[in-house]
């Protein structure tokens, strides 16, 4: 049967008791076999957990790191291309907004800006398609490598 010191005992064992509580538990322990037993049982169980030091296989860590590095590379590549294309698009749109007067509209119409806009839009679309295909290739290659790794560990 446990006494009312149960939770105080837990704080004491795990170093979370203040000085007063610690002194109280230490004074209580010599006269309470149940509390001494609980302390010992917790120490035994804690020692059992500490007795093993298992770690995930290196392939698990490698897969996470590979994903982290790929994500970083992907973010950089995408940002750079996007920035370039966005800049080009912004310049063209700026040119369009510069021709807002009737005369400007006429000028914009005759200058072939519409055709240029279409061309830029198409370039953006192409770049996005290429990026998407490239990402798909990486995913496919990654799954192939995972299969290879699984085959190697099966043979080992």
């Amino acid at each position: 049967m446990s006494c009312e010191y149960g939770e105080k005992l837990i704080l004491y064992l795990y170093g979370e008791a203040d000085a007063g509580l610690k002194a109280g538990v230490e004074a209580h322990l010599p006269g309470c076999a149940a509390c001494r037993g609980e302390l010992e049982a917790l120490r035994l169980a804690g020692g059992r957990l500490a007795a093993f030091s298992a770690e995930p296989r290196p392939s698990v860590l490698a897969a996470v790191m590979s994903a982290a590095r790929n994500a970083r590379r992907g973010a950089f590549s995408f940002g750079w291309r996007e920035a370039l294309l966005s800049g080009a698009l912004a310049s063209v749109l700026g040119g369009v907004f510069a021709f807002t007067s009737p005369a400007g509209k006429e000028l914009a119409w005759n200058s072939g800006l519409d055709a240029n806009l279409d061309s830029v839009e198409y370039s953006v679309y192409q770049e996005q398609t290429d990026l998407s295909a490239s990402a798909g290739d990486w995913d496919y290659r990654y799954s192939e490598l995972e299969d290879d790794a699984a085959a190697v560990s099966e043979n080992a």
Binding site: S2, G6, E7, L9, I10, L11, Y14, E16, A34, G37, E38, L39, E40, A41, L42, L44, A45, G46, G47, R48, L49, A50, A51, F52, S53, A54, E55, P56, R57, V60, L61, A63, V64, M65, A67, A68, R69, A71, R72, A75, F76
Partner: protein, 188 residues
């Protein structure tokens, strides 16, 4: 000087993937040990371990830096393990750490490299302790494992589990009483 967890997490967010490697290296033994105990299976523990860190890869902002990194890590791991457990249960798979302690994680752990402490405990005593741990309720076991592996304070554990600290301490206290009852013979 060694970088803190928060500094490494910030470096990762800023674009340094190697910072994640250092975080993983720092916490892998404790987190994996915890997951192995929770799930009872090497493949399940590794899946959840990977899932936790990939969550950070996919969304570096998932860790908000307001809380302790270790508390975030163990909370996410615990929730992911619970999700996995529910999926396994839905598929009709049996939890390996059953109430009888018949097929606990020690079956797998026994294949790990034995350390001096393991030799000290011995196989029989070790199995009896595993059986005693398996006799704890799920709540008691969870708190005990979380405290042992994460070394978070009881207040932090209470926040992670979203329960009052009194509940955490009560679960630990009941776990202690249960372990004493089960291990009484060993302690005489």
């Amino acid at each position: 000087m060694e970088l803190t967890d928060a500094e490494l997490a910030a470096a990762f967010k800023a674009g340094d993937p190697e910072a994640l490697g250092l975080l993983m290296e720092r916490h892998k033994a404790a987190l994996y040990g915890y997951l192995l105990r929770l799930t009872g299976r090497q493949d399940a523990a590794e899946d959840v371990f990977q899932e936790v860190f990939l969550k950070l890869v996919k969304n570096p902002g998932a860790y908000g830096e307001k809380e302790k990194f270790k508390a975030w890590l163990f909370t996410v791991a615990r929730n992911a393990a619970m999700d996995q457990f529910r999926r396994r249960a839905a598929r009709g798979e049996v939890a390996l750490e059953g109430p009888d302690g018949q097929a606990g994680p020690a079956d797998f752990l026994a294949s790990a490299e034995p350390g001096p402490e393991q030799a000290f405990y011995g196989k029989d005593l070790g199995r009896r302790i595993d059986a005693a741990l398996a006799s704890l309720s799920e709540d008691q076991r969870e708190v005990f494992y979380l405290r042992h592996y994460s070394e978070l304070s009881f207040k932090e554990i209470a926040e992670a589990l979203k329960v009052p600290i009194g509940t955490v301490l009560a679960r630990m206290s009941r776990a202690a009483a249960r372990l004493r009852e089960k291990l009484e013979k060993e302690m005489q």
